[in-house]
Symmetry: C2
Subunit: 217 residues, 2 copies
């Protein structure tokens, strides 16, 4: 298909597609004349991933390029490619806490992974840094964040990961599967956070508003 069709099919304006091509976020089409190129299914799919990263994940262009490079790097195994891609995603602010709070947060995070039995999750990963950072803020503000209270969140995250990886396993080709893994990592985050907020409203109403009449009935 031509650029105009790729634009119509993907809903991405031609100017934006040309920008992604220039920035190396989208592989070039197959040249058919001096001024025209032909694009295929893989461009539609890749464009979807670029939009997921940039528009939903708010990932900077340079970071998106790193993520895509990891997705395409077929010199290493799938798990390493996925790990490198997810590692390149933004992980929130660096902790600004004092040394003592930071040490407590690191001890808590490491004890939590131990209790969860997550021996494969590298403690030098960006996600681990994001957890430590979130724990330092909770500690500094005096909110509860000991291992016992964090454990159910870890267990539920483990259940979520099983569903996530089930979804990803539906995609057969290695690169397609990696693209799906990165896109679903980014795109299911707002799904999960919005459902958690709605569940809060539901649970808090059930507990605090419905409770009185139920107790009396």
């Amino acid at each position: 298909m031509r650029l105009a069709e790729l634009s119509a099919l993907s809903g991405v304006p031609t100017a934006t597609i040309k920008y992604y091509l220039r920035e190396g976020l989208l592989p070039p089409g197959e040249r058919v004349s001096a001024t025209q190129a032909e694009y295929g299914e893989e461009h539609v799919r890749r464009l979807g991933l670029v939009r997921a990263l940039i528009q939903v994940g708010r990932v900077p262009v340079a970071t998106a390029r790193q993520v895509l490079a990891a997705v395409e790097d077929d010199s290493v195994d799938l798990t390493t490619r996925l790990g490198t891609a997810v590692e390149a995603l933004p992980h929130g602010p660096e902790p600004t806490a004092g040394a003592e709070v930071l040490r407590t947060a690191e001890r808590t995070a490491s004890a939590l992974l131990e209790r969860l039995g997550w021996h494969r999750a590298a403690s030098e990963s960006a996600a681990y840094g994001m957890l430590v950072s979130a724990l330092t803020t909770l500690l500094e503000l005096g909110y509860p964040c000991d291992v016992d209270r964090l454990l159910p969140y870890g267990e539920l995250a483990g259940d979520l990961a099983v569903h996530d990886i089930d979804l990803i396993e539906q995609f057969q080709a290695p690169t397609t599967r990696l693209e799906a893994a990165v896109a679903l990592t980014v795109l299911y985050e707002p799904v999960l956070l919005s459902l958690r907020r709605m569940a809060h409203a539901e649970e808090s109403t059930r507990r605090f508003t419905d409770a009185a009449p139920e107790a009396g009935g």
Copy 2:
């Protein structure tokens, strides 16, 4: 305590505290002289919430003011105050999809709430809008997001909410409880997302890398 002590105790610079006071994010201290005011425990706690909102939640100052007004409004019941406060939090970009995709996303979201039995979660809430927006992106990119696949995420979010509200119930005074609810809504989001990413690494290694030797053994 004086401003300098409040700053030392909270780790927030005095210039930042003065800015929060000017912006009405922190109630004024009790005047003890023309140039000095006395601050208490509630200032330490409130400062924690303001930092959670602005530094971790990246909430604009005007939005933080709305959230805090809802926390303080004791003319309505706790559930309404919490609902209004969480409603004021940012909920990500508005959907930009075409009318047909938007209708499918809305139908999916509404069917999902029906299946979850969440009759109390208002479909006009900001969190619902955030879900619909995330679903339109998944639909546009051709990723799976039917009710059956979304259901486990909703169920797990429901389990998370039970733990969240358990944490919040530890705080007795109504305003303290609301402050904790808002702070924990914001502060546990990075905890959850980082644990999900680590669980991905764990589950994907278990399934794709460890799988071969296990099958042979």
